[in-house]
Amino acid sequence: MQGGTAGLTLLVLATCFAGPVAAFPLLAQNWRELSPGERYETLQNYQQHERLPEDSRRAIEKRYERWQQMSPDERARIRQNYQRLQQLPPQERDRIQRKYEKWRQQEAPSQ
């Protein structure tokens, strides 16, 4: 009985001192590790994903499955490419997208 009371007291104290995040101990570690700014962006991405039509959502989820299967080196290379893309002005990013569409059309018959 005494042990139960002490445990409950410890839980209450830990909740009070560890801050609001500790109030949701079942949350995935990744979410808790994010900064408030990163959490905000993550939530925005989630909302954007939820707004997509079903087939578009599935297409992105398949890409994610592919991403998960990539090696760390391959992921690092792609992250670098993403940084390069982000540094380009919006017009250049559009051009890259158009180039990709053209390249995909050229590649499609051979695939």
Binding site: P36, I60, R63, N81, Y82, I96, Y100, W103
Partner: protein, 176 residues
């Protein structure tokens, strides 16, 4: 810090030039900077000018006591000026440190409410850890965190190859 109400009581005497020099200077300074009292001062000056003009006309009539009439007019003008003085103004509140803090607090509160209404309370509370995010986000945090990258995965995978692909408008601009 001065309050408009304090100055309004002296405004008629000030407009008639009946205040002691130092007090007159204080009222002059306030009237210069306070648009409400400045407007009231202008109205008073016009009224006093008209009053003096009317008194001169009335004084020429028989059976009229110009001094008594002048005193009565002054009393009524003072009462009218006091009635129009606002009980408080933002300018007065801003003049005190506590007032500034209160106004800044009110502005922050309004901004917070607007932000909450604009983006939804969840989008403020969840990033701060005060509300649990949707289960999908906690289960696939990596996915939603890297979402912009995942969206463009196909392009990024072949970025170097894609970058070298010529576009039709490239050749057009070269020839043009």
């Amino acid at each position: 810090m001065s309050r408009c109400q304090d100055f309004r009581e002296d405004l008629t005497a000030w407009a008639e030039g009946q205040l002691p020099a130092r007090q007159h200077e204080r009222v002059s300074e306030h009237v210069t900077h306070c648009p409400h009292c400045g407007a009231e001062a202008n109205r008073l000056r016009s009224a006093i000018a008209w009053q003096q003009h009317a008194l001169r006309a009335v004084a020429s009539l028989d059976g009229v006591d110009p001094l008594a009439l002048s005193a009565r007019l002054r009393r009524e003008l003072t009462a009218a000026a006091n009635d129009k003085a606002p009980a408080w103004s933002l300018r007065d509140v801003w003049g005190t440190m506590l007032g500034r803090l209160a106004l800044a607090g009110a502005a922050v509160s309004v901004a917070a409410v607007v932000l909450l209404l604009a983006i939804g309370p969840g989008m403020v509370l969840m990033p701060l850890g005060l509300e649990a995010p949707p289960p999908a986000v906690t289960q696939q945090t990596d996915f939603f965190k890297d979402y912009p990258l995942i969206e463009r995965l196909d392009v990024l995978e072949h970025f170097d190859t894609v970058e070298s692909v010529p576009l039709d408008d490239d050749s057009a601009s070269q020839h043009g």
